[in-house]
């Protein structure tokens, strides 16, 4: 199994070709796009809103800022950022998947948010922007889907302005044993069943549960960020470490 680690990547618990992973991930999000928001609320009992709220409070986004909401999907963070940066700022909602972008665009337009939002299809591993372009970059529940996370972090570092910051909101490792057992039970049994009933797609939700477990824990991600050049890196655990918010600065 170990012979050529460069050519393979984790897809949930399966090991697949690196190139295959990107298209498998794309399939997952194509198939969940339409029901994504409903499932988010149901799966997390609405708590994802609180996690995102905390990310926004820590982002320091202000009037006039240029913000990239990477792997932004259906644009929950973009919606708040758009109001905070005002007409003098700009928010770019970036995602690799055009189905997700389309759902996001429709939703934000319905909310009356237009004018300072741009929708751009992009791969986090090779961001299509010049150096030093953004005040803030966020990636919420997106990094675990990216094949080459180190390349993605380096790419984010490159396009941040000096003084700018990156926020990574992602599932992580809880150190509470009881909570961890309950969470396992929930995500490997209940979650795919819910996915089957509501979105008629248990496979995608099984992938989500598995990809969460394969994601680096708090300390590992922190050192990956430092490796990519970020300074003053820190993280805060939420909901007992089920989710962690990492933050790092570029100076």
């Amino acid at each position: 199994m170990k012979e050529s680690p460069q050519d393979t990547a984790d897809f949930g618990y399966k090991t697949v070709d690196r190139e295959e992973k990107a298209s498998l991930v794309a399939d997952v999000f194509h198939s969940v796009a339409a029901k994504y928001d409903i499932m988010n609320d149901l799966m997390s009992f609405g708590v994802h809103r609180l996690w995102k709220r905390q990310a926004i409070a820590c982002s320091g986004v202000r009037k006039g800022h240029k913000v990239l909401d990477l792997a932004g999907g259906t644009g929950d963070l973009t919606a708040k950022f758009s109001q905070l940066v005002t007409e003098s700022g700009q928010v770019i909602l970036g995602d690799i998947n055009d189905s997700m972008l389309k759902v996001g665009r429709d939703k934000l337009r319905d909310l009356g948010l237009v004018g300072n939002i741009e929708y751009v299809q992009m791969n986090a591993e090779a961001l299509p922007f010049p150096d030093n372009s953004f005040d803030v970059i966020t990636i919420a529940f997106g990094l675990r889907n990216v094949t080459d996370k180190d390349a993605a972090l380096r790419s984010m570092y490159r396009i941040l302005k000096p003084g700018g910051r990156l926020l990574v909101l992602e599932f992580s490792k809880t150190n509470n044993e009881a909570l961890s057992k309950l969470y396992d039970l929930y995500s490997f049994n209940l979650l795919p069943t819910m996915g089957k009933i509501i979105a008629n797609d248990s496979e995608s939700y099984r992938y989500l549960a598995e990809s969460i477990r394969m994601h680096p824990d708090q300390e590992t991600l922190k050192s990956m960020m430092e490796e990519a050049g970020f300074e003053q890196t820190s993280y805060q655990n939420m909901t007992g470490g089920i989710v962690a918010l990492h933050r790092g600065f570029k100076y």
Partner: protein, 200 residues
């Protein structure tokens, strides 16, 4: 996490208030996109409020620089209903206000000018008669609330006036605080860098 929930609840209440009281939109025009932070000393927690035009956003655990920063314990904040204690509280360092005084004033006057016709709004949900009943039975509380509201207003006004008379000039204090903050940040950065070098 409980603070995040609290901030979400406060935010939706405030936004509801905006719908019930369209006048607020006008009186908050000057507060647009400015951030007011309230640090609860005993919780060691800072909440912040910003008005983005037709909507409020409430942050919990706010660590950024706010346009106006108020710091006090929850107990002190409730004491604010007694304006005569104010200068004393600042002198005793139990309450601290830095930044844009005007912003605090604007907010307090905007909120104290609210006159919502609760009976009318309620009747839309539960009918006229029950609405009137609810209003009557809560009248006492309502009057009490109003008293608190108006004394809060005079408190903040007094705060702003008294602040100017407190021993150090506010501008000096402001500058001093900015300096210490700056130094603190620099020290933190330095520490980080030293740590990095040591870890190499």
């Amino acid at each position: 996490m409980i603070e995040v929930v609290a901030s979400a609840i406060v935010e939706s209440c405030l936004n509801r208030l905006l719908v019930l009281e369209p006048e607020l939109t006008r009186s908050l025009e000057n507060c647009k996109h400015k951030v007011i932070a309230v640090e609860l000393r005993d919780w060691q927690h800072t909440f912040a409020l910003t008005y983005v035009g037709h909507q409020f956003i409430v942050f919990s655990q706010y660590q950024e620089h706010a346009d106006c920063h108020i710091s006090a314990s929850l107990e002190t904040l409730t004491k604010l209903t007694n304006p005569s204690l104010l200068t004393q509280l600042i002198r005793q360092e139990k309450l601290d206000l830095e930044g844009d005084l005007q912003l605090a004033q604007n907010y307090s006057s905007a909120f104290s000018n609210i006159h919502i016709d609760w009976a009318e709004h309620l009747s839309r949900y539960i009918g006229d008669a029950p609405a009137q009943q609810v209003i009557n039975s809560t009248q006492k509380a309502h009057v009490q609330g109003k008293t608190i509201g108006s004394s809060f207003k005079s408190t903040v006004t007094q705060l702003c006036q008294d602040e100017l008379k407190v021993t150090i000039h506010p501008l000096e204090l402001e500058q001093y605080k900015m300096h210490t903050r700056h130094i603190k940040n620099q020290a933190a950065q330095l520490e980080q860098r030293i740590q990095l070098l040591l870890n190499r």
